[in-house]
């Protein structure tokens, strides 16, 4: 962690945002067109032209999904930003939040006044010709992320590896993460998604019983407790203070400021440096950094909206504990104490989350920021937390704090 307090030399705000519809498969479009679509809509939302954007940060996850090793290069012209800086960030499942952090740094540093954050994903072109279905090849492609010497050849998968962290937590806290609670959370999120017209599963409301009845993918995780792979794109326009205010004045939509950013990458192998097994420590560290920067001391009281990267419901619960919203070992309080139920103090994943809106990897956390911003502005709420995670044992964590002054 930083020795001194992290801060932003310049204030940075979100002045435009967009998502394309998230779908299980976008047969109709390549990732070029999806990226352009999100860019068009974000520019429109901010009421500016490409000429007014100084730089772009691309969040593109896995080269192999895009079937190209520098997948962003054709985009620069297609989105209308030729000759501008375009940096590509990729950090596994957490690519979106790391890309936001990177663009934030570029604007906060004084280098650029405005920046486009653009995430795009095309995952389900992958196809396994043996089982005649996409998913085994999609998860194989993700599985190239495992350490190549010790993990890949023993059948490492993303689900397997989240399951490992979750089971280690359950070893420590056997009474927590009760199946009826995880089933209920999935059901609650399926209700949230109803109002998200961009979601992959907008009309897929499920009961807790149906969640319990879904099949194991990896023990102890059931199909309806796991996010779904999506294709789609999402974009944000960031701007420094004066520019942001001018844009907001023009659009009539207030600036949502990014007041805190935190990132943390854990060890990926258990070792001397990794005595947090049974935890998702990176989420704790990232949140603490972001809280410190934003001046938050009691997150549960000071934050009203959370858009959390729910790769798995059990991980959502642990992440909520790591970020200080419920005690470690008592994450079920989210439901047992009604914290995230309708009328409770915290709105968790009004977008439906990655389970129901969908997980278009590079775009996901950017979608979450889009959703959090909407929730702040449309519902007149004050403060939101956007969270992203990824890599082989959920060891990447990223947190951004969004604030609405009005």
């Amino acid at each position: 962690m930083a020795k001194k307090k992290s801060f932003a030399a310049r204030k940075v705000g979100i002045v435009g945002a967009s998502v394309t519809p998230f779908k299980g498969r976008w047969v109709e479009k390549t990732f070029y067109d999806l990226a352009q679509w999100a860019t068009r809509d974000a520019l429109k939302d901010a009421g500016i032209s490409p000429a007014e954007v100084d730089a772009v940060a691309y969040g593109i996850y896995n080269d192999i999904f895009e079937r190209a090793a520098i997948p962003e290069h054709p985009l620069q012209g297609i989105i209308g930003l030729p000759n501008k800086p375009g940096i590509r960030v990729t950090n596994g499942g957490a690519t979106g939040i790391y890309t936001i952090a990177s663009a934030f740094a570029f604007v906060a540093s004084g280098m650029y006044d405005t920046a486009l954050v653009l995430g795009v994903e095309k995952a389900t072109d992958c196809y396994d010709f043996v089982s005649r279905s996409a998913t085994p090849e999609v998860i194989k492609t993700i599985a190239w992320s495992g350490d190549s010497f010790f993990e890949q050849k023993i059948g490492w998968t993303a689900s397997d590896s989240y399951a490992e962290v979750i089971l280690a937590y359950m070893d420590e806290h056997p009474g927590d993460l009760k199946p009826e609670v995880t089933a209920k959370i999935s059901s609650v999120l399926s209700e949230h998604v109803k109002t998200n017209p961009y979601a992959q599963r907008q009309f897929d409301q499920v009961t807790p019983e149906e969640v319990l009845n879904s099949r194991y993918i990896v023990y102890p995780l059931k199909e309806m407790e796991i996010c779904v792979y999506s294709e789609g794109a999402a974009a944000l326009i960031l701007a420094e203070e004066e520019t942001a205010k001018a844009i907001a004045k023009n659009t009539g939509r207030p600036v949502v400021w990014i007041t805190g950013v935190g990132l943390s990458n854990e060890w990926s192998f258990a070792g001397k440096g990794m005595n947090h097994w049974g935890r998702i420590y990176s989420h704790h560290v990232a949140a603490q950094q972001a809280y410190e920067m934003a001046g938050i001391t009691d997150p549960a009281k000071e934050i009203q909206v959370i858009e959390l990267h729910d790769a798995f419901i059990q991980q959502l619960e642990i992440s909520m504990a790591e970020m200080g919203f419920v005690p470690m070992g008592r994450a079920d309080a989210l439901i047992d104490d009604g914290l995230m139920l309708d009328g409770g103090p915290i709105s968790v994943n009004p977008s439906g989350g990655l389970l129901y809106c969908g997980h278009a990897v590079g775009a996901s956390n950017i979608m979450s920021a889009w959703a959090a911003r909407n929730e702040l502005i449309d519902k007149g709420k004050h403060r939101a937390l956007v969270h992203g995670t990824g890599s082989t044992i959920c060891q990447y964590g990223g947190v951004a704090i969004l604030e609405h002054e009005d």
Binding site: R132, F149, I154, T157, A168, A270, G271, G273
Partner: protein, 335 residues
């Protein structure tokens, strides 16, 4: 040169071809394709570790020359916790304890379909301070939750044929082994007593059971009809073809899947891709009715399949059930 396995199995590779997909009145082109690169990859500083697995059936860790911590796998040549003091190879034991309860993969990637279900767990081997991730199996049949958990003692077993990869080894619970097996360094998979794959003996059906079965069969036929009528449900089994011999105490029949359609044929089929056996036909019926997954029935040993690789088909049946249930529900909401 003798016939050897290729690094990409030929069966994985599609032909060069494209097809047209019509969506909302417009045509789209889908192209079979691959992205691939070949290597003669150096294992670098890990060479010794992998050669010891392959040639000597030994497991090496690395010991920090300053703090003495032994890391296995030997991930680094210098200890970042000790101002990068050098580490040295050291042999570790071949039994150890699970650092935490291991997950079990039922739905594997396309490269591991034939290996599922399998566990993957972190074992802290004797003499090591950190955990080595390995695949876990039980010698007693399909791996189910509860067989291994945090603290379970694990023995490392070596494949008979080894190439110098981490998949040259895997773990089984020591409780399934004789003391001699547990003691033996370099224990081989051929030295274990693996449970044979054989159909469970289902016993004789009572008259009552036969009556119930007949009712279930009628229900099943009507359910399959609904499935075939549902475009969304049919998608779950498109391009798929299987003949399943279903065996229960009261009745045997064939369950036929052929490119989007599924139906029942009376009597045990002459030939089948695999066998499904259960004491209670309702287990299968409930699964197809989306009341408890068929996958889970197998995991809970309420239903038996003759080939683990056919989990692929089971997943399709579970999807079929879910898609139909979802369609019915939406119909009900609209209606």
């Amino acid at each position: 040169m003798e016939q050897r396995k290729k690094v990409i199995p030929e069966s994985y590779i599609p032909i060069e071809a494209s097809r047209t997909l019509r969506l909302e009145g417009k045509d789209y082109l889908l192209m079979n394709d691959a992205m691939y690169t070949f290597y003669e990859r150096s294992m670098g500083e890990f060479s010794q570790f992998f050669m010891a697995l392959r040639d000597e059936k030994k497991i090496l860790g690395c010991r920090c020359s300053a703090c003495g911590i032994v890391r296995c796998p030997p991930m680094l040549t210098h200890c970042p916790d000790c101002a990068f003091a050098p580490t040295e190879p050291i042999e570790v034991g071949q039994t150890g304890k699970l650092l935490s309860t291991p997950p079990i993969t039922y739905f594997a990637t396309s490269m591991f379909l034939d290996k599922a279900p399998f566990g993957r767990g972190r074992v802290v081997l004797e003499g090591a301070d950190t955990a080595l991730s390995i695949m876990l199996y039980t010698t007693t049949g399909i791996l189910t939750p509860g067989i291994m958990k945090k603290g379970t003692e694990i023995k490392v077993v070596f494949q008979d044929e080894r190439t110098g990869q981490i998949s040259d080894i895997f773990g089984v619970p020591t409780s399934e082994l004789t003391p001699e097996q547990v003691q033996k360094p370099g224990l081989l998979t051929s030295e274990l007593n693996w449970a044979a794959v054989k159909e469970p003996d289902l016993g004789q059906a009572t008259e009552e059971a036969k009556r119930v079965s007949q009712g279930a069969l009628v229900e099943l036929e009507s359910l399959l009809k609904e499935m075939n009528a549902s475009k969304r449900a049919s998608k779950a089994i498109e391009n798929w073809k299987r003949t399943i011999a279903v065996k229960t105490p009261a009745v045997e029949f064939g369950l036929i899947i052929d490119n989007g359609r599924i139906w029942l044929e009376k009597g045990r089929p002459k030939s089948s891709d695999f066998v499904m056996a259960t004491e209670d036909i309702r287990v299968l019926l409930d699964g197809l009715n989306y009341k408890g997954a068929i996958t889970d029935a197998i995991v809970k040993r309420k239903l038996w399949i003759s080939k683990n690789i056919e989990f692929v088909t089971i997943f399709k049946l579970d999807r079929l059930a879910r898609f139909l249930a979802r369609e019915k529900k939406e119909g009900a909401a609209k209606g």
